[in-house]
């Protein structure tokens, strides 16, 4: 260790220079966590069962259409659970045709039960298929949310999958958290459905809905009284045109009422479907349904060949903007639910930064003074090592693009207290060796080498804790684990390697050393 002074000086110099390079300028290189700069942290649960159900129901619709085409009377086709489809046919004579058709159309289903006497077949979605749908629902949901957020305009958002079916969304510095949340969480399933005029809603509510129909509501909030009214509509279940057929959407202002509305342009296929639909149903009403709520139900006056539709419904300008965004970005394949939300306002973040800085400064001052008073010149060396430790810690965080959170600052403060422990272990050992009658140089040698094993032990145990904490923790707590772990690791370099180098420079020269300030 006594030799190679040149190389060791060079290593310290290079490391310190690299640290400064990584760190400069600090305001840009250090990533502040949401709890420091303000923002939203959301954990969304994707309701993957709903995605499965939708898929199974779509398959049911195709089977029904195919069976009817082949003249097989269908009594009932319904979904059972989230993966099973129960097909009940009218007469036993068409049993073979029914089985064959079901097998043909439902290629990705397995036959689970077949009861010829009862005329009932139960088909179950193949497990592999179901797994794929689940996976797709989460991945597609993540992409859609990313898309919406990009269009909403948030600087440096973070959107990640967490576990099997959770999505973690972090939006720093968002001013209006409620609006952002609504934008992210909206399923935004747009459907155009025909209103069934053969039955009026009040009768349907009392006596039941005809097969193939459903009741949906239009919500109207009275601007004066803020009372919500729900107007029922009987509509056909089948959606002729959906949000999938939308090419783009934008906000326009109605010239007469000066109310904003959303104008939707369909893609080629959607435009054709819309033209056909309007052509065949002139005079009927078309319900524009978003996430199961009727927005409006205008009458079809004539065939609409332009491939363009308008969604009105008493929007505020922000609501219309957000609706246009979600329609452009597409619907979520499955509904999401907010499982966890943490929002920090910018003023609290600024407060936390100030308190963090004060704590760090106070802890550093207390520890630095203590070391100086207790160990004199050696204490000063330890203090230098501590300063280098903090520099390297921050540089490592910048280099790894780690995020500094309030608990992360707490980790730094704690590192200040723990990093000097290593020096204390070494210095106490050197003192002990001196008391035992060894020379200064021999004591330094023995102090470093004998304390080293203990130092490694103490580092390992804290690192074990930090690793588990990192594995377990969420957001801010993870930041604590990161800064503590880096601080502890760096202290091996600063408190042992760097301190030793300084000691060697001071006491290992050619002259005889009689005294050491420790």
């Amino acid at each position: 260790m006594r030799r190679n002074l040149g190389i060791r000086i060079a290593i310290v110099a290079v490391v310190a220079a690299a640290a400064i390079w990584f760190l400069y300028p600090p305001s840009k290189s250090i990533n502040l966590g949401l709890d420091l700069q303000g923002g939203i942290h959301l954990v969304l649960g994707v309701d993957v069962a709903k995605a499965l159900e939708a898929q199974v129901e779509r398959a049911g619709d195709s089977v029904r259409a195919e069976l009817e085409k082949k003249g097989v009377a269908v009594t009932k086709i319904e979904r059972r659970g989230s993966t099973d489809l129960v097909i009940q046919i009218g007469s036993p004579q068409s049993w073979d045709a029914a089985l064959a058709t079901a097998g043909e159309v439902l290629g990705n289903f397995d036959r689970k039960e077949a009861d010829q006497a009862a005329g009932r077949v139960v088909m179950a979605l193949k497990p592999r298929e179901a797994a794929q749908i689940r996976e797709f629902a989460v991945r597609q949901g993540l992409e859609t949310i990313r898309n919406r957020i990009d269009q909403f305009g948030v600087a440096e958002p973070s959107i990640q999958q967490q576990g099997d079916n959770r999505i973690l969304v972090q939006l720093p510095g968002v001013q209006d958290p409620e609006r952002a949340k609504a934008l992210i969480g909206k399923t935004a399933l747009l459907e155009f459905k025909l209103v069934d005029d053969k039955i009026d809603p009040d009768t349907a509510l009392k006596s039941g809905v005809p097969d193939g129909d459903e009741i949906l509501y239009q919500r109207r909030v009275d601007k004066e009284t803020h009372q919500e009214r729900k107007i029922p509509f009987v509509v056909q279940r089948k959606a002729y045109v959906t949000g999938r057929d939308v090419a783009t959407a934008r906000v326009s202002i109605d010239q007469n009422t000066s109310e904003p509305y959303v104008s939707v342009d369909f893609n080629a296929a959607g435009g054709r479907a819309f033209a056909d639909l309007t052509d065949a149903n002139v005079g009927r009403r078309l319900a524009i349904v978003l996430d199961g709520n009727v927005h409006s139900a205008p009458q079809i006056r004539e065939r609409i060949p332009s491939g363009r539709a308008q969604i009105t419904g008493g929007f505020t300008s922000a609501e219309a903007t957000d609706l246009a965004i979600v329609l452009r970005a597409g619907a979520l394949p499955a509904p999401v639910q907010v499982l966890e939300e943490r929002t920090v306002g910018p003023s609290l973040g600024a407060d936390s930064i100030r308190k963090g800085l004060v704590s760090t400064a106070a802890a550093a001052l207390a520890v630095v003074l203590f070391m100086l008073i207790y160990y004199r010149l050696s204490g000063l060396v330890a203090d230098l090592a501590l300063a280098l430790n903090l520099l390297l810690l921050l540089a490592a965080m910048a280099g790894f693009h780690a995020t500094l959170t309030l608990p992360g600052i707490a980790g730094i403060v704690l590192t200040i207290g723990m990093a000097v422990d290593t020096n204390i272990l070494i210095f106490e050992r050197i003192r002990e060796e001196l008391r035992g009658g060894k020379t200064v140089r021999a004591s330094i040698d023995a102090g470093f080498s004998r304390a080293f094993r203990t130092i490694v032990d103490t580092h390992v145990t804290v690192l074990v804790s930090a690793a588990i904490l990192y594995q377990f923790g969420t957001g801010p707590v993870k930041g604590f684990a990161v800064s503590l772990a880096i601080g502890i690791l760096v202290s091996l370099f600063t408190a042992v390697f760097f301190t030793r180098l300084i000691f060697d420079l001071m006491y290992m020269g050619s002259r005889r050393v009689e005294r050491i300030s420790i």
Binding site: R342, G345, L348, T458
Partner: protein
């Protein structure tokens, strides 16, 4: 030169029954407090629920805050002043759904009731499922932390050392939880982080002492030295570094408690308690070795195990050397 405990020669081992009594008392007090409080009081991280930190632009009373909340009908809210009289922390009971527009509604209702401007400084919602998941994971995390330490210490020293170290850790964690319970503080994610840190840190002093015990043993037993002497020697020789290393960390934790603000308060409190008990428990834990060796020595004498094993002398410095001259 400033020095403490240079020629310390305290008879720790002789007073070990006082330590045992004190530890047992503290652990019992902790457990009783936790039971009397109806278990640990978990924060919303673990129970689910919502927490809103609001700041008014003028001081208001709790009654005014309550009046505003009552209009929303969100269930029984717990209202707590946070810092000065203009800032409050509102806890709402768990709900399956994230209340829609909760922030905006709270802001409007509170502002109207108090006739003041209101700022939402922090809003946290944790669904019951997430809370349940976290509770289980938290338990695993603490257990995994302790298991990790046990394995490391058992590997570095011996199994006995590992067991004693774990006893000391369990003691530290229990006493820290008890202190939280006595102070009516909540178990939150940051507090859990503090507990895990304590698990990793408070073992350090124990390791320093164990290392010294082994080092002294490695030199071979001196004439007339009992196990008690050996351990007393190790404890006294390492006393200054045990106290000093803990002191600097204690300083840092104390600074956090004083300057870190309300958000870090519980976390810092747990750390301060943990560092103190962790330091104390390393002294008590080392003393335990004496009783362990006496006990295993008696057991060996009472029931001679099958030849080979009992006769073989444990390697020096590892395992349990029977006490000499007892």
């Amino acid at each position: 030169m400033h020095q403490i405990f240079v020629n310390a020669n305290y008879d720790f081992v002789g007073k070990r029954h006082w330590f045992y009594g004190l530890s047992l008392g503290a652990v019992l007090l902790s457990i009783v407090s936790i039971i009397l409080h109806g278990g640990l009081s978990y924060g919303i991280d673990f129970t689910g629920g919502a927490l809103v930190q609001v700041r008014y632009d003028k001081p208001v009373t709790v009654a005014e805050v309550r009046k505003g909340l009552d209009e929303l009908g969100l269930g029984t809210a717990v209202i707590q002043q946070f810092g000065d009289a203009a800032e409050y922390l509102i806890r709402l009971p768990p709900a399956e759904q994230n209340p829609e527009q909760l922030g905006d509604r709270v802001k409007a209702a509170l502002g109207k009731a108090a006739g003041a401007g209101v700022e939402i400084r922090r809003l946290e919602f944790v669904g019951p499922q997430v809370g349940r998941d976290l509770q289980v994971q938290a338990l695993y995390a603490v257990l995994a932390g302790m298991a990790g330490i046990l394995i490391y210490v058992a590997f570095r020293f011996d199994f006995r050392g590992g067991i004693i170290a774990i006893l000391a850790l369990a003691h530290d964690v229990t006493v820290t939880l008890g202190a939280l319970s006595l102070s009516n503080l909540e178990m939150s994610l940051p507090v859990l982080a503090a507990l895990l840190t304590i698990v990793g840190y408070s073992i350090n002093d124990t390791i320093v002492v164990f290392d010294r015990i082994r080092e002294t043993r490695g030199r071979g037993p001196r004439r007339g030295q009992t196990v008690a002497d050996l351990i007393n020697g190790a404890l006294n020789q390492t006393l200054s570094r045990t106290i000093l290393t803990s002191f600097t960390t204690f300083l840092a934790a104390l600074v956090l408690l004083i300057f870190g603000g309300e958000v870090l308060r519980d976390f810092a409190f747990a750390l301060v308690i943990g560092v103190v008990t962790g330091t104390y428990s390393s002294v008590a834990a080392a003393s335990l070795i004496v009783d362990w060796e006496a006990w295993s020595g008696r057991r060996r004498a009472a029931a001679p195990a099958p030849a080979g094993r009992a006769a073989s002398t444990p390697p020096v410095g590892k395992g349990s050397q029977p006490a000499r001259k007892r």
